[in-house]
Symmetry: C3
Subunit: 213 residues, 3 copies
Amino acid sequence: MLEIKFISLLWLIGIIAEAMTGALSAGKKQMDLFGVVIIGCTTAIGGGTLRDILLGNYPLIWIENVHYLIAIALASLLTVLIAPLMRYLSKLFLAIDALGLAVFSIIGAQKTLMLGFSPVVAVVMGLVTGVFGGVIRDILCNQVPLIFKKELYALVSLLTAGLYIGLKSCEIAEWINLTVCLSFGFSFRMLAIIFQWGIPKFNYQYGQDGLSR
Amino acid sequence: MLEIKFISLLWLIGIIAEAMTGALSAGKKQMDLFGVVIIGCTTAIGGGTLRDILLGNYPLIWIENVHYLIAIALASLLTVLIAPLMRYLSKLFLAIDALGLAVFSIIGAQKTLMLGFSPVVAVVMGLVTGVFGGVIRDILCNQVPLIFKKELYALVSLLTAGLYIGLKSCEIAEWINLTVCLSFGFSFRMLAIIFQWGIPKFNYQYGQDGLSR
Amino acid sequence: MLEIKFISLLWLIGIIAEAMTGALSAGKKQMDLFGVVIIGCTTAIGGGTLRDILLGNYPLIWIENVHYLIAIALASLLTVLIAPLMRYLSKLFLAIDALGLAVFSIIGAQKTLMLGFSPVVAVVMGLVTGVFGGVIRDILCNQVPLIFKKELYALVSLLTAGLYIGLKSCEIAEWINLTVCLSFGFSFRMLAIIFQWGIPKFNYQYGQDGLSR
């Protein structure tokens, strides 16, 4: 049971970190406080919500436990208050976000497997849970989703989810699996930021051919 | 039964007003008539559809009653015809849209409660029904959702839905509740337009920190 | 059974063509290879996924048969490799895309009817299946959906789906119906490209009235 409490705590940290990235994005578009709260909430719960809709898994977590939504809304508003401190907190914040990415990817894969879906679907849903909150945030803020352009992010999510499913199939104790995958996902993302690791870009400007309509 | 007919009529007015805002947005992006119809339809039914998908409430209203969809499509096309008159009708139009906002918020909360969800979920779903049609419209038209930036809109929706749920829990007669909430939501929105009420904006331009990725 | 195999083959061709349009769009936004794969996949399966979510039809096809998703991901990556050849393949590519549009519209209508929905819903869902993959692609690439602006595309989808449902109600043999509708949809789209057929645009720039909010 201890590992459940531990991962729940990490999930809460992850959700709040996601809400804060959403709130900051909203601030860059000079939205009002209500917009900040809505973007914060959709960023934090968007990935998990999309996963559950794709799987047809009802009721949604935040509908069953509405206090999560309230916590996220408050975290979004808190972000506005502490925004002036962000220059001092930025490294802490990036670390929390990296932790959140790893947690979301693992939880997404875990839940999908527990619902009886195949391991491949579980890995895909780990990715959906990990990154689509940020994709929805960027769509609402009217910008090209940054996870498709910047340092490794989606790949970290995919590999973390894949590692979790792989170790699970080896029947390794859950708490060891969680520790390994969290450490892997977190370190991989942090290293990607520090060394600006990225994967090759596809630059197709041929254009006036009417093809990529 | 009279109040059901009354609110159904208002709902129809609201849906048509929403379709018209969608059609006008499409016109600003110089879409073709088919784009106008699709944007009109998604604006009008988007909020309710998102609510029902989030709640897992099937079949969707416009799939069960496809003639609603046809009415909305016709309203969108009609908008194109009367667009030149808009300068004379703009105040009427804003009033209809305000009425639609109030009706959608109340109906969204009412339906959610009737499905057995908690009062807080009902208020959230009132908000989703009231404002997400417009959010989807702005996403399809590739602009930052304006409800996050302009005068009070989402807050009107939230408070109207909250008032309805609050009065409902006091076991006030449904028709009194409807009358009070409609008047409140409509007047609040109109006053917000007239006096340009807004809530504070969050302007975060710190930027090059790589945070609000 | 032969016609099922035939339409399955066409569906596979269509899905791969859609993945390629997605990959090329991602390349125009200089996304990384992971972004290319995600945009390719959402473009290819987005329309069918949206249809099934709107109908509440679970499990989704690509969750039940995850190898489709893998085929689409590979097609997206392949697109990056053959991109330099696109100038020679552009006509072939437009033809495959036109075929895909017709196939998707027919399959979307067919599946909806088989689930017991009304003919009108089936036609609408044919349209959703045919064009919303491209709409989701354009949203993810942060541009106004081009099907709302360029030559006939959505109308081809709607009429093809409508023709299929119409002929079906006349109890015409399925393989004749498929042949007629595929030929119709494919030729209609190709002619629209060649002769630049479009439907009138709605240009509403009245603007500073605060109406089309």
